[in-house]
Assembly symmetry: C2
Homo-oligomer: 278 residues x 2
């Protein structure tokens, strides 16, 4: 359960940290990045979990999004996990959209994935249990993510609305049960019973939700994966049918890249801060 | 001379662009990143040239520094060249600190480097000639850089003080004639006559300078290359002996990484803006 520190850099007066630990839920060693704002030197701070997209590790958001500047101002820790279990002994696939780097934040039920691919439990149970013990964090948290990680953030918050004060997403895969990325991943990880897929489908979950945390979604209208893989309209329809108040915005001219994330991450952090410090 | 656009992303309301062009000074194809702020849609804007460090391309600063947010606010274009000539036909060395990715912003005089390694001319002459023709840029410019690129920025501004409104550097190699990186690069590119090296040594140039543009230097005190490779004290001594007013700051706890740059890039851009818009 203990965290081994691999790296530390001063950043906006706080500390960008990289850790390695053995994840019990995943049965493998994992790397994890954490940003602790200056406020964490003298008090416990709330956390924003960030879930990254296909092919990413904990490094992409850490170096590209520019989030730490605002986290330092607001006094929010950033928890940045990897996107799948890792290692030579962990099942993999040569495609970029299955296996390592593509965990899809589910608990796999099918061979050969069951032994390690339990990212849902890793993010929702294991990290929130161990991190506030090892680091100056309160139990208060929100969650955000990009693309596959936007899907993960929405699913975790919709399934466990009491666990997250707020949720946001950039370019999320809104209806994985109905797009190529999601059907490939879910049929491999979860098998052929589509009813099981819907437990990890944000649009299906939102349509029947009775409790929805404050939710903000940004989608670029020049995104190369919109609409086919992302199906933003399904989330809009689900919000309408559930009556949930969800802020889904289209941003004109923006694509799927971290340039889009960096342009709006400040608004997302300020959105989360409203609820993290309530 | 024409620029071929390879990529474009919307970023903070402006445009992050990637170009390829044949560089006459370098006799090879080069890639180049440019950020045009929103103001450039309707008027010409001044430019900040950014010179990157060893092993970097035009991508590192583009994705890691978070500079575009402030450039968008201030109305400054960012010009982000590669760090050396490139290609299979261009001389190279297996070490990270010589050859491709390590041009050191000099005009080489020694074989096998003379044919392509003319980064001083590329940055100081060719790009300022072609970019304002192809893009909505005024002739007004400043220059900054990191590590090897901090060396380059200081040298260019000290040798051509009328060409740059201001200069700044992060963790620059302040006295390359006296450190391992510099001695290796200069003996290969320039030969054994140390007098030739001093034309590319910021401390030597500053010590005898009669005209010095406004200059800001930031150096982290936890930088793994300080003091041996960077020799910041030589620049401080040179400023004292020339009587030039130079702001050289040590930042406590910061290392050599882009996390350091991102923490202070806003101050550097606001420093340059004072002179770019004079």
């Amino acid at each position: 359960m203990s965290l081994t520190q691999l790296a530390e850099s001063r950043l906006f007066g706080g500390r960008q940290l990289k850790f390695e630990h053995f994840a019990n839920t995943l049965s493998c060693k994992m790397q994890l990045s954490v940003y602790l704002p200056p406020q964490a030197e003298t008090q416990k701070v709330p956390a924003l979990y960030w879930l990254s997209g296909l092919t990413c590790t904990d490094e992409n958001f850490s170096v590209k999004a520019g989030a730490q500047r605002i986290a330092a101002e607001l006094g929010i820790a950033l928890i940045i996990p990897d996107t799948s279990p890792r290692g030579e002994l962990v099942a993999n696939d040569p495609a970029y959209d299955l296996g390592q780097g593509a965990g899809f934040y589910v608990n796999a039920t099918e061979a050969p994935w069951t032994a390690h691919y339990r990212m849902y439990d890793y993010i929702s149970r294991e990290l929130p249990a161990i991190l506030p013990v090892a680091l100056p964090l309160t139990q208060v948290k929100s969650i955000s993510g990009h693309s596959m990680g936007g899907h993960g953030a929405l699913v975790l918050a919709l399934r466990q609305p009491a666990a997250y004060r707020s949720v946001s997403a950039f370019s999320p895969i809104c209806q994985p049960s109905q797009c190529e990325w999601g059907r490939k991943a879910f049929s491999n990880y979860l098998g052929d019973n589509v009813a099981d897929w819907l437990e990890y489908d944000a649009s299906a979950l939102l349509a029947k939700a009775t409790m929805v945390p404050p939710m903000l979604v940004d989608q670029g209208d020049q995104d190369q994966f919109y609409p086919a893989q992302l199906r933003t309209e399904a989330l809009i329809d689900a919000a309408a049918s559930s009556g949930a108040k969800v802020d889904i915005r289209f941003q004109r001219g923006y694509d799927h890249s971290y340039y889009f994330i960096s342009s709006f991450i400040e608004e997302h952090l300020r959105f989360h801060a409203r609820y993290l410090f309530e």
